[in-house]
């Protein structure tokens, strides 16, 4: 048969690596400057800490070593809160996406509540749940909940009418309709919702810790280091925050992108 054509993705890997290297120039120069310049200065100032001291602090400094326990607490809190929020967001998104009645009943309130700036929840949550773990978990869950719910709903709403008609014509029973049409059809959007949810939940985790400030955690670690004027520890905390944000995002993509292979090459 002559019309059998398989389109193969054309890639330009060399250009892509060149771009990555050019993008790395600025950060590398800045890091090098940070590593070298403070040693060349004759005066020591607590605001100017060389890079090597910052990186060494979690291993040699007594206060610095506390960051490991804080990190563990923060990660636990982050994943717990995210899981709560994402599950609730998925559930609400599916409910309003699948049922017109639920959409009309719930969506106006949802959209109103969504307008509240995230950090404005903290006084409310601490009033309800106290300054302990409950408030922080609720805050993290809330920060993941909105983007996940919103994108899940959107993904279901925008499934092509043509596909819905096919499901009707083929008389797909509800279970099959959910598994073969609704979930995979909404998946790209759900995927985006979860990704945004991870980012906002990470912000929520650290921000919540920083603002509520009781117990252990990276946010609290940074707040205390700042209080003691330990710039090295503050910087250490910031570096770790960025690193974890990056790793979580990359890990999520690695884990879930194979599920979207059917989309083929994007034009």
């Amino acid at each position: 048969m002559t019309d059998l054509t398989i389109e193969v993705a054309e890639r330009a890997p060399r250009r892509a690596t060149a771009r990555i290297w050019r993008g790395a120039v600025l950060p590398v120069v800045l890091l090098a400057a940070w590593a070298i310049v403070p040693h060349l200065l004759s005066v020591r100032h607590p605001l100017i800490v060389p890079l090597d001291e910052v990186l060494a602090s979690p291993f040699i400094d007594e206060s610095g070593r506390e960051i490991w326990a804080s990190l563990a607490q923060t990660l636990l809190r982050f994943f717990g809160g995210f899981a709560l929020g994402a599950v609730a967001g998925l559930a609400l998104g599916v409910l309003v996406g699948a049922s017109g009645l639920a959409d009309r009943l719930v969506s106006p309130s949802f959209n109103a509540v969504r307008q509240i700036a995230l950090f404005a929840w903290i006084p409310l949550l601490t009033a309800w749940f106290g300054n302990g773990e409950g408030s922080k978990l609720a805050f993290i869950a809330l920060s993941a909940f909105f983007p996940v719910a919103l994108n899940t709903h959107d993904g279901l709403r925008t499934i092509g009418r043509g596909y819905v008609e096919v499901a009707a014509v083929l008389k797909l029973p509800l279970r099959r309709r959910i598994l073969k049409l609704l979930l995979p059809g909404a998946l790209p959007s759900i995927f985006i919702g979860l990704q945004i949810g991870l980012i906002t939940a990470w912000l929520g985790t650290v921000g919540g810790e920083y603002m509520i400030g009781v117990g252990r955690g990276l946010g609290i670690f940074i707040a205390e280091a700042r209080g003691q004027f330990r710039m090295d520890l503050v910087l250490l905390g910031v570096i770790l925050l960025a690193l974890i944000g990056f790793v979580v995002n990359a890990g999520f993509r690695r884990l879930f992108e194979p599920l979207l292979r059917w989309q083929g090459v994007k034009p």
């Binding site: 059998l4 398989i6 389109e7 014509v169 083929l170 008389k171 099959r176």
Partner: protein, 254 residues
């Protein structure tokens, strides 16, 4: 291959006084008026007409996607109410689910069958439309013509009694189109299924059909039904063919 040996049980389709109107700003706008059409068991009937003559609307009523109409549509002795597995549908766009492989798309409607039966039907219909080797491909990896073949296989896998085709080849280039016309003919011959096809292409209608129904618009009605009493294979350049084609064109003038 079972298609060659067991003929599909076919029932005829009977459209009796069907009318349909949309409400535009409160006043009714008739799109179909008093449509009568009889399609015998195993017959291939085409419906042609200008855009907006209601032919696709009529097809939606036959498929059962729209239940809000006057008159009656019967499949054999049963009144049509909602979609049914005995009516297979081919749309103009293939509408394969992009997240399922070709074989999973074909298996989509085969709920409640034994796994061996599902596998057999996939293999049988993949072979029928000539897509061997593409079972595990995703729709975006196929050309338009191949995707439409896969859509045909998906509809046939349900073993419908009647195949409803809504401009099935309208989105394809002319070479692929002619090739798929021959495939449709071959499938129809083999299965003796009842087929009803909406098309813009008069030549395609005369080439494939036992009968061509010509519709006129505002409101959509059947203006003429022209029987095509030609044997197969049909030669598009033969005098009888050209003559019939002109008859249909003439009926399309208003």
């Amino acid at each position: 291959m079972s298609l060659a040996t067991e003929a599909y049980s076919a029932r005829g389709l009977h459209i009796r006084g069907v009318g349909k109107s949309y409400r535009i700003e409160g006043s009714p706008l008739p799109v179909l008026q008093n449509v009568h059409l009889d399609i015998g068991p195993g017959e291939f009937v085409s419906i042609v007409g200008a855009s907006g003559c209601g032919k696709s609307t009529l097809l939606r009523l036959i498929i059962g996607l729209d239940a809000d109409y006057e008159g009656e549509i019967f499949l054999g002795g049963d009144r049509v109410a909602g979609p049914g597995r005995e009516r297979g549908v081919i749309f103009q766009d293939h509408r394969l689910f992009p997240w399922l492989t070709i074989e999973d798309n074909i298996a989509l409607g085969l709920e409640g069958l034994e796994a061996t039966e599902v596998r057999a039907r996939i293999a049988e219909n993949i072979e029928l439309v000539g897509l061997q080797g593409f079972e595990k491909a995703y729709p975006h990896q196929l050309s338009g013509g191949m995707a439409q073949r896969a859509a045909i296989a998906r509809a046939l896998a349900m073993k419908p009694e009647i195949l409803v085709l809504d401009e099935p080849l309208g989105a394809l280039d002319s070479l692929t189109r002619v090739r798929l016309q021959n495939e449709l003919f071959r499938i129809w011959r083999k299965s003796r299924m009842t087929m009803v096809m909406v098309t813009h292409d008069v030549e395609e209608a005369v080439y494939l059909s036992d009968k061509v129904a010509v519709m006129e618009p505002r409101p959509g009605r059947i203006k003429a039904t022209i029987p095509v009493r030609l044997g197969h294979p049909r030669l598009r350049a033969s005098a009888e063919f050209v003559d019939l084609r002109e008859q249909v064109y003439e009926a399309l003038q208003y």
